[in-house]
Amino acid sequence: MGCSATDIAEALRSAAAVIDEHRDELVELDREIGDGDHGENMKRGFTAVLSTLDTAVPDTPGAVLKVAATTLISKVGGAAGPLYGTAFLRAATALGDRSELDAADVATALRAALEGVQARGKAEQGDKTMVDALVPAVAAVEAAKGGSVAEVLAAAADAADEGARSTVDLVARKGRASYLGERSAGHLDPGARSTALLVRSFAEAAK
């Protein structure tokens, strides 16, 4: 893709499809170490994003991400809702009114998203949350800054996958899984998994 508002909207549509496809997996992951609603929450949120975009697609990437953000905030609920909402909102704000994004913009947006999640959720890397998928994704994008949007996002997706997988061995210190203490180890964090899925779907859309 190039990276116009329409492309971002397209990427969000494919993200919605991916979340829908993985809804049961995310429910199951959250059932194991949380309360089982992550898949349903994300699906409700992205389904709403779809219909928002069906009504009208704003004319800058930032504006598209902003309507996605407010939709997620008002539809997802739970911990993931405000966290993803903030991530998209900060990314949108970071992009300002640019109308075509390059790899550097992707880096800016992704870092802003990560900072937003951490500002709200206070989680550090290693706490077994979505932060563990986001941190390596941002690092990968920043390292690969020379490439195309498609290339940096592909690198980010690989890193996010890796980061998500790393949560399996961790003991949760934030979110609902933290109540499990030691018993949270041995399970993939649902939010890290959904982050990896989202980054991957953006990378696929950018191809």
């Binding site: 309360d35 089982g36 349903e40 929450n41 911990a79 405000p82 109540y179």
Partner: protein, 333 residues
């Protein structure tokens, strides 16, 4: 999963329709976003007391909307915190010059969503404060973790702040009262069976026929430890010790004892447990001045109980005894 539902995604909305029809004298239900509002709200000059959280814990919170308690309740999807716009809708429907107090149970999702709503309200020039209740001693408290959960103490907090607002206390006073209560209420729960979330379709966890989950949360989150089932005497002693040791509650203290059913435990067992708790407290020289027994903070059909203790003084007793008229709690009116 066998449940009396239609579409799992519509359970909360359909249930609220029934609530509205059953209690039209007390409350009305706004749709999309879903909010339960006291029938006579807004009440000019009075602080609005608002609470909310994921559904599946009924009567918490909608069953506590009415004179002397909540002005509005914000029900999220099952076990999912409501979104900021829903909280904002509750604020708009109830809040005037006197401001509002948001009662938030300490779960990451609830805190984040209510925080956002409070910021938005502040931006609109409204005086909205929030207080976070975290009475569950099952979870080790630490700033490096999500911290302790809000459980049974929430009902007491809603009743007492609701009474203070009703008698005309200012927002400063209601907020200070809320913080005082949070400081002196503690709870501990146990589950014998798991709840089943409608959209999940299978039990949240699995316990063997001779296992119980000690220190359970109210979302089927696991507890402190899985232990062998034991007699009611032993179990109630275990729960109570966890609670009394935490604050601590000591000889000479006067308390409210709240024996709560998690939903699926029969009343026969609940009162049996309550009787044991009263006896044990008497043995420890702790005086039970007020009590509440029933399914008030539930986790769908989960079998289990929780015990909540709150230190009492004359002010709290007066507020506890003040009239309340809601679907789930009523006296004095």
């Amino acid at each position: 999963m066998k449940k009396i539902i239609n579409d799992p995604a519509a359970v909360v909305a359909e249930s609220l329709r029934g609530l509205a029809l059953a209690h039209a004298d007390l409350l009305r239900v706004q749709e999309d976003p879903a909010v339960v509002v006291r029938a006579d709200a807004p009440l000019p000059g009075k602080v609005a007391v608002i609470s909310g959280g994921g559904s599946g814990h009924e009567p918490l919170h909608g069953g506590f909307v009415g004179p002397g308690m909540l002005h509005a309740a914000v029900p999220g999807e099952v076990f999912t915190s409501p979104t900021p716009d829903a909280v904002q809708a509750a604020v708009s429907a109830t809040t005037g010059e006197a401001g509002a107090l948001l009662i938030v149970k300490n779960y990451t999702g609830d805190v984040l969503n209510f925080e956002t709503a409070a910021e938005l309200a502040a931006a609109d020039g409204q005086d909205v404060r929030s207080v976070v209740i975290d009475d569950d001693v099952a979870v080790a408290d630490s700033t490096f973790t999500a911290g302790r959960r809000g459980v049974g103490g929430t009902v007491l907090l809603e009743k007492l702040t609701g009474a203070a607002a009703e008698r005309g206390d200012s927002l400063d006073q209601v907020e200070a009262l809320a913080r005082k209560i949070v400081g002196q209420v503690r709870s501990m729960g146990v589950a014998l069976t798991a709840p089943t979330v409608p959209h999940v379709g299978e039990p949240s966890f699995t316990l063997a026929e001779d296992e119980i989950e000690f220190g359970i949360g109210i979302h089927g989150e696991p507890g402190r430890e899985r232990i062998p089932a034991e007699s009611a005497d032993a179990l109630v002693r275990r729960l109570l010790s966890a609670v009394t040791e935490d604050l601590p509650f000591e000889r000479g203290d006067e308390v409210l004892l709240f024996t709560n059913s998690m939903g699926g435990t029969p009343q026969l067992e609940l009162y049996l447990a309550h009787g044991i708790a009263e006896r044990l407290l008497a043995e420890r020289g702790i005086t039970v001045r007020r009590r509440l027994v029933g399914p008030y903070v539930t986790s769908l059909e989960m079998q289990g109980i929780s015990l909540t203790l709150m230190k009492l003084d004359d002010e709290l007793i007066e507020l506890w005894d003040a009239p309340v008229r809601t679907a789930a709690l009523r006296w004095g009116v």
